[in-house]
Amino acid sequence: MTDSITLDSTDTHGHSDHDDHAHPTEKQYWIVFVILAVITAVEIAWSYMGLEGPALVVPLIIMMVVKFLMIAGVFMHLSFDSKMPNGRTFYLCFGAAMVLAILVFLVVLAAFEFQI
């Protein structure tokens, strides 16, 4: 199973289970792992820089989101599974929950801020 077959066969059959062509290669996993490790290291370093307020929080949040997306996309195969027919369903089910959770709980925390 070479890479060219991977690309060709992805669109022709939709069996997610057993369709291992669509999944990333070991090399990709290693690259992602190294990137994740580096981001984590940067995060920790950033937290030791003595910054305060948005300068501290915003980059940390951005790095957290990037890590989240990389794990969900590559390790959990979301970005690969969503390329197959109807594969976006996984994406939508999980994404809807995620967005809902973020919005709802941000509103809750905001409501406590604005409370009398």
């Binding site: 289970d17 929950a97 809902l100 709802v104 809750v108 409501a111 604005f114 409370q115």
Partner: protein, 652 residues
């Protein structure tokens, strides 16, 4: 799932020899009680959901009548203040969690696979588990009646009153753990039914060809899937507070008890919609059938349902306008709440437009549907008055609120469910319910219902607070409370006519030698009417191929040369004969019920003695593994018999 498939059955009738993973064999050829306890048939599970809900309905109804009896006259002492607190709390809890939700689940279970042309749900064993765990939770909740009294903090059990300091009796523990356990059932049911709708549809049944009921159930299950965990989280905090001394709602430690209100209502408002949407789905099936017209604006029906589902998440704080959440929050949630009236209004208009110009057949099912449209509209209108924050500030915690939510829940949800019962009864049990008693049932309920809850609007505006145990003569509440109590007894008696009707119709049918009611007694529209009544165990002999919305109706009626609509076949001519030869059904299993009833043991352990948790947890773990390692006697089970309930591996 399995691409590498093993032969289903050899011609000789023997199956290929295989080595199961271990564990116990599955029950085979079970009959009688064991059959019901181990069944994984979605129809039997649906019926059991319905029966369990009716059982709890009677308990909740008795509680309601006790409340009304207490309030019939001023300074009444029938119930002590403490008992009164317990009775109204349990009434609310039972009616919401153990009656309205499971009746919705009953219809969803019975009808969903039939309406999408499936053999069963995606995970039949999880389906059985969902029911049993709901029942286990419900029974545990109700066991509190005998073990020191039920919960007494209102159905929402606000913090910090729900803490051990203010509610030292075990009632709230039972409330907490019972609903916790029942919530597991709702959650697994939601996962199961969503998978079923998305993945088990018959050929040609595209999303926009699904009956409205299926759509509304799908939205409902998504609401459950996302709302239940929030309640579970809140209950976890309460559990840790009460049983393990945590401080989440401990005000002396600086905790903010509003956290409970937020979490509860983030769950609670979607909960409101997930109670009413199945009923909306039911009347959206009944009204077109008896108006002899297709549903008006099908896409609008679907999208307004989805819109309700989404917007239901943005309005929870309108339950908290007077709790001090601040003017900004009040304004934002007030506006959001007004907007949610729009999709609901769209639905009402669509039902009216469906009936408009139709040849209405006013049988009991249709009457109950019209009852929903009218009564729910009244409740919806009083709901809009709550959206207006200044007005709501006056109405909060008065009987006006009680009137409002009974108009939407009883007048809405329950009328819808009664419509559904009268409509699908022949499909489920093989005989029609008596129309004469049915009409008594309907008109009696409308009368009793409005007599009970109509006056509560007035009482509320007069200033009668809800949850108060009694009132003084001088307060001027006497007349309308008496009217309300009289109404409630009319309502109670006429509601029981359903049971009378079921019994009488059955005995007449039996006396007449069980005549076949036919596959399609109502000349209905959707594909569940294309199979025999009662629905055979295997559902469809051949999986239908769907090419239209209301496919069955389109098979029966076609346009002739002049463009006029004519009947080309009757439902009974088109119906499948009900021959299940060669159909493999998922095998029954002991494990769902064992697993479900192992959870309350842990629950009782948490309340009484942690030592009880040990056998409970052991039994839970063993049954999870017994389930996961259960051999599939029936090879067909491989394809849709397993669920990924965390620890489960497919037992091939």
């Amino acid at each position: 799932m399995a691409v590498i498939e093993e032969p289903l059955a050899l011609p000789s009738g023997t199956t290929k020899a295989r080595r199961p993973l271990g564990a116990f064999s599955r029950p085979r050829n079970a009959t009688g009680l064991v059959d019901w306890l181990t069944t994984v048939d979605h129809k039997k599970i649906g019926i059991m959901y319905g029966m369990a809900a009716m059982f709890f309905f009677i308990i909740g109804g008795v509680a309601a009548l006790l409340i009304r009896l207490q309030l019939a006259a001023p300074n009444s002492t029938i119930l002590s203040a403490d008992t009164y607190n317990r009775v109204f709390t349990m009434h609310g809890t039972i009616m919401v969690f153990l009656v309205v939700m499971p009746i919705g689940a009953a219809f969803a279970n019975y009808l969903l696979p039939l309406q999408i042309g499936a053999r069963d749900v995606a995970f039949p064993r999880i389906n059985a588990f969902s029911f049993w765990v709901f029942l286990a939770g419900g029974l545990m909740l109700n066991s509190s009646w005998f073990l020191g009294g039920g919960a007494n903090g209102g159905w929402f059990n606000y913090a910090p009153n729900n803490g051990a300091a203010f509610s030292p009796s075990t009632g709230i523990d039972f409330w907490n753990l019972g609903l916790f356990i029942a919530g597991i059932g709702s959650l697994s049911g939601a996962v199961n039914l969503i998978t079923t709708v998305l993945n088990m549809r018959a050929p040609g049944m595209t999303l926009m060809r699904m009956p409205v009921f299926v759509w509304m159930t799908l939205v409902t299950q998504f609401l459950l899937l996302f709302a239940i965990p929030v309640l579970t989280a809140a209950q976890l905090l309460l559990l840790l507070d009460r049983q393990f001394g945590a401080n989440f709602f401990n005000v002396t430690q600086g905790a903010d008890p509003l956290l409970w209100q937020h979490l509860f209502w983030i769950f609670g408002h979607p909960e409101v919609y997930l109670m009413i949407l199945p009923a909306f789905g039911i009347v959206s099936e009944v009204i077109p059938t008896f108006s002899r017209k297709p549903i008006f604006g099908y896409p609008f029906m679907v999208f307004s349902g989805i819109a309700i589902g989404f917007m239901g998440w943005g309005v929870w704080a309108h339950h908290m306008f007077v709790s001090g959440i601040g003017p900004l929050s009040v304004t934002a949630f007030s506006v959001a709440t007004m907007f949610i009236a729009v999709p609901t209004g769209v639905k009402i208009l669509n039902w009216l437009a469906t009936m408009w110009g139709g040849k209405l057949i006013l049988n009991t099912a249709m009457l109950f549907s019209i009852g929903l449209v009218t009564q729910f509209t009244i409740g919806g209108l009083s709901g809009v008055t709550h959206a207006v924050a200044p007005s709501d500030t006056q109405q909060t915690d008065t009987y006006y609120i009680v009137a409002h939510f009974h108009y939407v829940l009883f007048g809405g949800a329950l009328f819808g469910f009664f419509a559904g019962l009268y409509f699908w009864w022949p499909k489920i049990f093989g005989y029609k319910l008596n129309e004469k008693i049915g009409k008594w049932n309907f008109w009696g309920m409308v009368l009793g219902f409005n007599l009970t809850f109509g006056p509560m609007h007035i009482l509320g505006l007069q200033g009668m607070a809800r949850r108060m145990q009694t009132y003084d003569v001088s307060m001027g509440f006497n007349l309308w409370n008496l009217v309300s109590t009289i109404g409630s007894f009319i309502l109670g008696v006429t509601t029981l006519l359903l049971f009378v009707n079921a019994w009488k119709s059955y005995s007449e049918w039996k006396a007449a030698g069980r005549p076949n009611v036919g596959a399609d007694p109502w000349d209905a529209r959707t594909i569940e009417w294309s199979i025999q009544s009662p629905a055979p165990e295997h559902n469809f002999d051949v999986t239908p191929t769907v090419s239209d919305l209301d496919d069955f109706w389109h098979q029966k009626y076609a346009e002739d040369d002049e463009g006029k609509l004519r009947q080309v076949a009757t439902g009974d001519e088109l119906a499948q004969p009900g021959n299940g030869e060669g159909v493999h059904l998922p095998a029954p299993s002991y494990w769902p019920i064992v697993l479900a009833f192992s959870l309350p043991i842990v629950g009782y352990g948490l309340i009484y003695s942690l030592w009880f948790c040990i056998p409970g947890t052991l039994l839970t773990i063993i049954s999870i593994y017994g389930w996961a390692l259960e051999p599939a006697d029936d090879l067909d089970i491989d394809d849709h018999g397993h669920g990924p309930d965390q620890e489960m591996e497919p037992a091939v």
